[in-house]
């Protein structure tokens, strides 16, 4: 289990810090609306209902408080 966590951290570090700088003029793919790292506007309500119907929420998935949602 310890090795599994270590491997995950190493892979993640390699991905995050082994990146090559991308110039502004090379970002035609990165700047595409579908590449946006946040949830889409059309997902707004479905992430809310998932937060109501499931025990987990947060980390970019659904609201973390405010409003009831207890029905």
């Amino acid at each position: 289990m310890k090795y599994k966590h270590l491997a995950s951290v190493l892979v993640l570090s390699a991905v995050l810090f082994g990146c090559k700088p991308v110039k502004q003029y090379q970002k035609q793919f990165i700047n595409d609306a579908e590449m946006d790292l946040s949830a889409k506007k059309s997902q707004k309500f479905e992430t809310n209902f998932q937060a109501y119907r499931e025990g987990a929420s947060g980390a970019g998935g659904g609201k973390t408080g405010g409003g009831c949602g207890c029905n």
């Binding site: 995050l16 990146c19 502004q24 793919f29 790292l37 506007k41 059309s42 479905e46 025990g55």
Partner: protein, 399 residues
């Protein structure tokens, strides 16, 4: 001929030089407040199931919800070229719930069987030329038996080349809700919860969260984001009109601890593949001190059929272990300290799949210039404990 060539080259380099001199300091930006975009989102949700928490883990969970929001984003720049943005949003939901109608089945219209929730919010952010941003948000939410006030602070910093972003969001919600009991479990003299239905108690529920996100462009086609939330809640976290039946056939209102700490960790990874296909992926691990653990994995693959039209099939898998305080109908023991038969806290897995269609024509949707995009999204949700639901959403953007 040579003269013409030299003249053309000189002209070309002059244009290049003009662009290279155009730094952030000299780019003209309008200082007047102007509308950058307006978003309308409208959704219809319908669910059905057979494990209602109001009736102790048995009975209909039929529910419909109609949600609408409008969001207006205004921007301006000041003398120092700081970018200011103001976001104003108003949301209105209307739901009807068959299970909530069982709080008092003898009445035609018991409290909370149908309700309208109104939730306005406003946010103001300033971003300077060093890519540092700071913003404040305020929100409110009001429904028949529940009021909520929220405030937030956002701080963000991007690298000079905009390849790395760090964001911190601190958020607090101060909620209060009306304690409503099922008819047979109401203390003597306690109100129904309806208008002029007698005295009732309002009780607080507070939520505080710190959300961290770190985003990085990996290469010209990939980017990744790491997400971490620390969330704490206190106050009335149980829903008092949800019944729990014990193995000796007695019943009580649901009772849960008055504090909860949640720790979700997530990662998003987006990849623009060759051939106009994009992979949007998301994974989250969640854990809390009620013993609930969950995994969420999501994959969406927008396919660009043309520069203006894309279709995006998606699939989401979710699994959770049950909270320590859950037991099904008539399986709790009278000596249990905390108890719930809410199947939202039970052990289950779920599948959610569907597709969305996005249309962003060059001349505006239906040739209406300011109507920038139209998106339709449909999804079907299946939970392993027999809850099924459908959701359809329409999102319109005007720019």
């Amino acid at each position: 001929m040579r003269k013409i060539t030299f003249a053309a080259l000189a002209c070309f380099f002059q244009v290049l030089a003009a662009f290279s001199q155009e730094t952030k300091d000299t780019v003209y930006k309008s200082r007047k407040l102007k509308t950058e975009e307006i978003n309308f989102v409208s959704g219809y949700y319908h669910q059905n199931g057979d494990h209602s928490a109001v009736t102790g883990g048995i009975g209909t969970e039929k529910l419909t919800d109609l949600s609408n929001t409008i969001e207006v984003k205004l921007v301006r720049s000041d003398r120092r070229n700081n970018d200011h943005s103001l976001n104003i949003e108003l949301g209105i939901d209307h739901y009807s719930s068959a299970s909530s109608d069982k709080i008092d089945p003898s009445t035609i219209s018991s409290p909370s069987h149908a309700d309208t929730r109104i939730y306005p919010s406003v946010g103001y952010t300033i971003k300077n030329q060093h890519n540092f941003s700071i913003g404040l948000t305020g929100s409110a939410s009001n429904e028949f038996d529940y009021h909520s006030w929220g405030a937030g602070l956002n701080i963000g910093k991007s690298s000079p080349d905009n390849n790395t972003d760090f964001n911190l969001k601190l958020q607090a919600y101060w909620d209060s809700w009306k304690l409503i009991y099922p008819i047979e479990l109401r203390p003597p003299g306690y109100g129904t919860g309806g208008e002029d239905g007698g005295p009732v108690i309002w009780t607080p529920r507070n939520s505080y969260s710190a959300s961290f996100s770190f985003s990085r462009v990996i290469n010209a086609r990939m980017q990744v984001s790491l997400l971490l939330d620390l969330i704490t809640q206190n106050g009335m976290l149980a829903t008092n009109y949800q019944r729990v039946y014990f193995d000796n056939n007695t019943a009580k209102p649901e009772l849960l601890p008055d504090s909860r700490f949640k720790l979700p960790v997530g990662i998003r990874f987006n990849w623009f593949l060759p051939g106009e296909v994009i992979l949007r992926s998301y994974y989250r691990y969640y854990s809390d001190n009620w013993g609930l653990k969950a995994h969420t994995a999501e994959l969406e693959a927008p396919v660009k059929l043309s520069p203006f039209f894309s279709i995006s099939p998606f699939y989401r898998f979710y699994w959770q272990d049950q909270a320590d305080y859950f037991a099904p109908y008539r399986q709790h023991r009278p000596g249990d300290v905390f108890y719930t038969s809410d199947y939202d806290l039970s052990r289950f897995s779920s599948h959610y799949f569907g597709s969305s269609f996005r249309w962003v024509p060059a001349n505006g949707v239906f040739h209406i210039g300011k109507w920038n995009s139209l998106e339709l999204r449909y999804g079907h949700y299946m939970r392993s404990n027999d809850l099924n639901s459908d959701m359809i959403t329409m999102a319109l953007k005007f720019k």
